[in-house]
Symmetry: C2
């Protein structure tokens, strides 16, 4: 841990150094900040005053001599998603225990923002970066390659196929399969899936759907594959009308679930891959006057304090959010310390928390 | 907006510059990063190669010439709280529109972390800082004063009495009073308050309680004062047993609400000042076999998608989270642009979203 941690409170300010040296504040700031022109004589006086008062050389100057700034950078797709907030907590706790500070940028799923955020972190001289990237294609990862050329990089939550990097993820496909199997075991065959890929039009074939998924986020695609795995294992035919496509918003989920509930052979269960999917689906059930689990069963990502106090308490998939962040930080810190990166995929286990939102489907006269 | 935004993808790497110059990667990195020793001859070759390939001078070098790094720093008490995540979104949207990037540090309510975070942001040469501070006393703000001496600082969410700074907050006291008045208007007189100050022991007098609150977070104290205002206006005597004290966790709320529900003259309504208070209170109601709003009414901070899909949908206070962040960023960016800081308190309005968790208290035989 850096020796100066937490001691700024007792530090003299630039103004105090300036007063001691008998120079203007700007001159002291230029000298101590190492920028702009200061005459040799005034520079000498400022440095003497700084030493006398115990002014702390800033971390940038220290990093120039040691090569390590003791700062990790984190780029997440949306810090407003409690999943990413939990991952960041895991990163912060682990990095802090090893004497590193953590700075975070949120891209709100915008690739241009992600490129800018990567530049910011390199310019601010962080020692390594953890990224949950919005990039999906080979042509979208040049900024990550540029970062890799300078400092260690670890991916979290989202694998990017074209990058050979340490990657920390959960078992998305297995988690989704287990959830859908749970619904099938309760007797369901008409299971709605929200959300699917952000396609403009409903793909009409399974192949079309998977092609669309492979052009989009890895996590979403894996969860879709898990859903299809469970249907296949139970020999339940795939019905494209039961997969939501389009914008990934709570409002869109509400519309799509309403549509699936109004089909002649309506859904009796819903599997949601995101929190916004769960609240959107519950809104649609309420509007349709249907209750969970009597009329429609539901399982979703991600577990939360709210899910546990719902009526009924919801059966949810719990991701090891803190451990995801902690593991990513451990791998990155090892690389910063000089270890050879293994460039492997670290897959952590999620867990299905069984509560009360799954029951058998209603009888044939629903 | 900086001209280089989003163009890193097409940038040559340090390795490419090194190859072009016929030097090692470390030499190129030292030259382009401006640190360490490089012989004048090699330095010349690297710079020529960098120019030929169009290598981008890094932002640090640019900030040394312009004095502005186009980066805002944000320190929040807990990025895992959806309230702060919403504030950060407001800051990011506003700063981005004006060509600034935003980097965030979360202190998890730890003052030492906040001091370290402040040092990091100054060392990383951000142009200004927005802080939701965990500091409460005059002796805890030296790090903020040190930052103020270097760059503009704006407080958000939490006023700190001893600092003369632009401060962007909501009408916490009015918001709490309105919520408690709503419960009183429905007929309630035994209204539990969670959470109060983190005192080790239950204060037995109103004065003791307020003294404890004034030694703790400003927002919590303001909400407590609003609760007392509403009781006073309705001439309802203050009962210290109806105020939770102690650790601010969901588990503690559950225990304390259970205690208030088991009093001889039990509570018939609950006012929660935090999301964790709401989920904790709902757990306690469920355990006690009581239902909301038939047996116990409830109003809480902060509104969310979950609160709207609860059964019953919850009456909640909605804070203008995005606007809080946007306003703080506007004030800070104006100060960075050279405006004279007004050093005023900007108070934004919250809103009570009436749903279905408030009903009259049960009859005398509850």
């Amino acid at each position: 841990m850096p020796a100066d941690r937490g001691q700024a409170a007792g530090q003299p300010t630039i103004s105090e150094v300036a007063a001691e040296a008998g120079v203007g504040r700007a001159t002291a700031a230029r000298t101590l900040g190492g920028y702009g022109y200061v005459s040799p004589e005034l520079r000498e006086r400022v440095l003497a005053a700084a030493e006398k008062l115990g002014y702390r050389a800033n971390a940038l100057a220290r990093s120039m001599s040691t090569g390590v700034s003791h700062t990790l950078g984190v780029i997440v797709a949306d810090i407003g998603n409690p999943f990413f907030a939990g991952v960041v907590r895991g990163i912060c706790d682990t990095s802090r225990a090893r004497g590193f500070d953590t700075i975070v940028l949120s891209t709100y799923e915008n690739l241009d923002e992600e490129v800018a955020a990567t530049n910011v972190l390199i310019d601010k001289r962080v020692d390594g970066v953890i990224i949950a990237s919005a990039a999906v294609g080979r042509r979208e990862v040049a900024h990550i390659r540029a970062a890799m050329d300078r400092i260690p990089v670890v991916l979290v939550d989202r694998a990017v196929a074209s990058l050979d990097l340490d990657t920390v993820v959960i078992d998305n496909r297995d988690a989704a399969r287990e959830a859908v199997e749970t619904l099938i075991a309760a007797g369901h065959r008409r299971i709605g899936f929200v959300w699917g890929p952000p396609a403009a039009q409903q793909p009409v074939t399974r192949r079309g759907l998977l092609a669309e998924a492979s052009r989009n986020l890895w996590t979403d695609g894996e969860r879709l594959r898990g859903y299809l795995d469970a249907l296949d294992d139970a020999r339940i035919p795939f019905d494209p009308e039961l997969v939501m496509v389009g914008r990934k918003t709570e409002e869109r989920v509400t519309e799509e679930v309403a549509r699936m509930l109004s089909l002649p052979d309506r859904i009796t269960a819903i599997f949601c891959t995101e929190t916004d999917g769960v609240t959107g689906a519950l809104r649609a059930l309420r509007t349709a006057g249907l209750s969970c689990p009597r009329d429609v069963a539901l399982i979703g990502f991600d577990d939360s304090a709210w899910a546990a106090v719902m009526e009924p308490p919801l059966t949810m998939i719990e991701q090891p959010v803190h451990r995801l962040g902690a593991k990513a930080a451990e791998v990155l810190l090892d690389a910063i310390a000089g270890g050879e990166p293994a460039r492997e995929t670290h897959t952590l286990r999620s867990r299905l928390i069984a509560r009360s939102s799954v029951a058998p489907p209603p009888g044939p006269h629903h």
